[in-house]
């Protein structure tokens, strides 16, 4: 087990390295042209451009120059010295400032979507074919068909203050830190949590329903019935236990993604200044250092949780031997 984990960690580091490289490649190489010129803007003189180039370390040339620049950037990131091209702010610090909002959004939404997803999926499966199942399935399908951006906007419009419909049950976006006012913190997060969770609840509910219906036909469930176990015990200990395993895998990765700033749209629509929002801003201005930072931050979460999920999976299913 320990050897497995060490090997995985090594692999993770490689992946992160590759990710940073790819981000660099995407922003420097793909657009082509001269990044310093792009940053300097349209009315810059050539002296300005040369100046920027030197300041930002972009004056290396050729193939080796490329690597040197990349290495510099990564080193700066890890020593918390990386500075944005656009506005000279420290990237790592900006990310840290975004953490509370992103974490609050992610954790709250994850609890909601996992809880409701399992509930909805189980009810739907147990009542398969009947009206409650059809209704839940319909709602779930609608839930996964609505674009998140639109849902967020609509909810803001209809339910949030100053949205224009006159109804003002919820505040119109913005983030209130947990430490300053817990009630307002939650109040401001209710709509974003819901917006983010709807998609996942629909998806998880349907996957779970499908898994449960498959598991119910397994031989070992038939044996459990033949033993005379109560329906509830069969459902919980035998059926759900088997059906939830794939869900746990999905959940691990989705949660990691949102924690890693993947909820860019939700954060943007509701003006929650988290890591995702920061990413969106940086992309608009094609600001490479923050993008590098945010992408590595996000990738790190995904890769770590990937390992956690695999280990947990092995714990849940004794047939799996990590090797």
């Amino acid at each position: 087990m320990a050897a497995y984990i060490i090997r995985r960690v090594f692999g993770m580091l490689l992946v992160l390295l590759a990710v940073s490289f790819i981000v660099y490649f995407i922003f420097i190489v793909i657009p082509g042209g001269d990044p310093a010129q792009r940053i300097a803007g349209k009315v810059a003189t050539s002296a300005n451009i040369a100046d920027i180039r030197r300041k930002l370390g972009l004056d290396h040339h050729g193939f080796t120059g490329f690597f040197i620049q990349w290495y510099d950037m990564v080193r700066q990131l890890f020593t918390a010295q990386l500075v944005s091209y656009a506005n000279q702010t420290n990237v790592v610090q900006q990310i840290e400032e975004g953490l509370p909002a992103t974490f609050s959004l992610a954790i709250g939404a994850a609890v909601i979507w996992f809880g409701f997803g399992v509930l909805v999926g189980t009810i739907s499966a147990v009542k398969a074919g009947r009206f409650s199942d059809r209704a839940i399935t319909a709602l779930a399908l609608i839930g996964i068909s609505i674009p998140v951006a639109w849902l967020g906007l609509i909810l803001r419009f209809f339910l949030a203050g100053d949205g224009g419909s006159g109804v003002s049950w919820f505040p119109d976006g913005g983030y209130v830190p947990l430490t300053s006012n817990p009630v307002q913190w939650a109040y401001h997060l209710i709509l974003p949590w819901f917006t983010l969770a709807v998609l996942f609840i629909g998806f998880y509910g349907r996957v779970l329903r499908s898994n449960i219906l498959d598991t119910i036909n397994e031989d070992f469930v038939r044996t459990a019935k033949a033993k005379g176990l109560s329906t509830r015990r069969i459902l919980v200990k035998h059926v759900l236990r088997a059906s939830l395993i794939p869900i746990v895998t999905l959940f691990g990765l989705d949660f990691a993604s949102v924690l890693g700033g993947g909820a860019i749209i939700t954060e943007s629509v509701y003006q929650l200044h988290g890591v995702g929002w920061y990413a969106a801003q940086s992309i608009q201005s094609q600001d490479l250092p923050p993008l590098m930072g945010v992408t590595l931050y996000g990738a790190m979460f995904i890769v770590v949780f990937s390992l956690l999920v695999d280990v947990f999976y092995a714990y849940l299913d004794p047939r799996i031997r990590l090797s």
Binding site: G129, E218, D219, F220, R222, T223, A224, K225, A226, K227, G228, L229, S230, T231, R233, K237, H238, R241, A242, L316, D317, P318, R319
Partner: protein, 342 residues
């Protein structure tokens, strides 16, 4: 006369499927006494598994319809609610299935699964349940039960898994053990061990056994009485001796003939029964075996009733053929000597 535990009268089971109504079991009847082994023999689709599972109430569902009676100690199990059936399953009727690998939950230990069965029906604490589990494992012949009780199913071999399943089924001392093709998925050598185990346990636990298989060789070892099923019906019924020495149904001859035998003159080809079992949705008219029967004649367009047509009482069959004719011609069919290739 031993206690009559189970009495099945004119049981019919129908399933509604997207292709039509499947008449899986179409009127079968039998009785089972304590200490006896009833063998049920037939091809796939003959209705033998459906019968077994119906006794346990495992075939209930939105698309299933039942007729007839299943009397267990006088009580009609078909009328018992599903919830109340939980009391009977495991407790009064135990069942083991064909594939022990998939029939056991892979994520729980063997001991946990057996103890679960015990604790479902008896008020014992975990420690007592575990002790009983270990004892049961010893009784079914699993070596080192104290350590193997914590193993997972995939750590057991096929034969041992089946023994564990038997232990689980017998854990609450049921009066009836139903074994649905318990040896089909196992090696031949292991098969013999399992059959011997079931036989011994039947005596140890003083229970009755219904043993279902398509393998006549296995049934000869263990059964007292045999039912031959075809297309959802019983087509022949009698003691093991009757069936093997005086079989009355051409179908039974076919089954007997298809076993390769060392003590008979070697035929050019192994005898097979031509054709395929009939659709359970569109059953043929008259005798269900008629389309495949080499001896069919015009009276066979009327379905024969299950009746006693021979001297021995209790030996029933569904065939219009004259008994003397049968005794004269059946050896051909069984040994397959003159069966020309088609």
């Amino acid at each position: 006369m031993a206690e009559r535990l189970l009495e099945v009268n004119d049981l019919k089971v129908r399933f509604a499927t997207e292709d039509g109504v499947v008449r899986a079991v179409d009127g079968i009847a039998f009785a089972l006494e304590r200490g006896k082994v009833l063998g049920i023999v037939g091809e796939s689709g003959s209705g033998k598994s459906v019968t077994a599972m119906t006794l346990m109430g495992l075939t209930r569902g939105i698309n299933a319809r039942f007729e007839g009676e299943v009397l267990y100690k006088g009580k009609d199990l078909l009328q018992v609610t599903d919830r109340d059936m939980q009391e009977y399953r495991g407790n009064e009727l135990g069942m083991i299935f064909q594939d022990p690998m998939t029939s056991l939950n892979p994520v729980y230990r063997i001991g946990e699964q057996i103890a679960e069965a015990i604790q479902a029906h008896e008020k014992v604490d975990k420690r007592a349940a575990r002790a009983r589990t270990i004892e049961l494992l010893r009784q079914v012949g699993i070596p080192n039960p104290e350590s193997r009780v914590d193993d997972f199913p995939h750590q057991f071999s096929g034969g041992m898994r089946q023994r564990a399943m038997i232990a689980m089924a017998l854990s609450c001392n049921p009066s009836v053990l139903i074994a649905d093709e318990p040896t089909t998925a196992l090696d031949v050598t292991i098969q013999a061990q399992i059959v011997e185990l079931v036989s011994r346990l039947k005596d140890d636990f003083d229970s009755a056994v219904i043993f279902i298989t398509h393998d006549l060789g296995v049934i000869a070892e263990i059964a007292d009485e045999i039912l031959v099923m075809y297309a959802g019906r019983v087509v022949e019924r009698g003691t093991t001796r009757d069936l093997f020495y005086d079989p009355q149904m051409p179908y039974t001859w076919g089954l007997l003939g298809s076993i390769p035998r060392l003590d008979r003159p070697r035929a050019e080809r192994l005898h097979t029964i031509k054709g395929a079992p009939p659709s359970l949705i569109n059953l043929p008219e008259g005798c269900k075996f008629r389309p495949r029967c080499p001896h069919a004649f015009d009276k066979c367009m009327q379905e024969p009733g299950l009746a006693n047509r021979v001297e021995t009482a209790g030996h029933l069959d569904r065939c219009w053929l004259d008994v003397a004719y049968k005794r004269e011609h059946r050896d051909e069919s069984i040994s397959g000597g003159s069966a020309e290739a088609a």
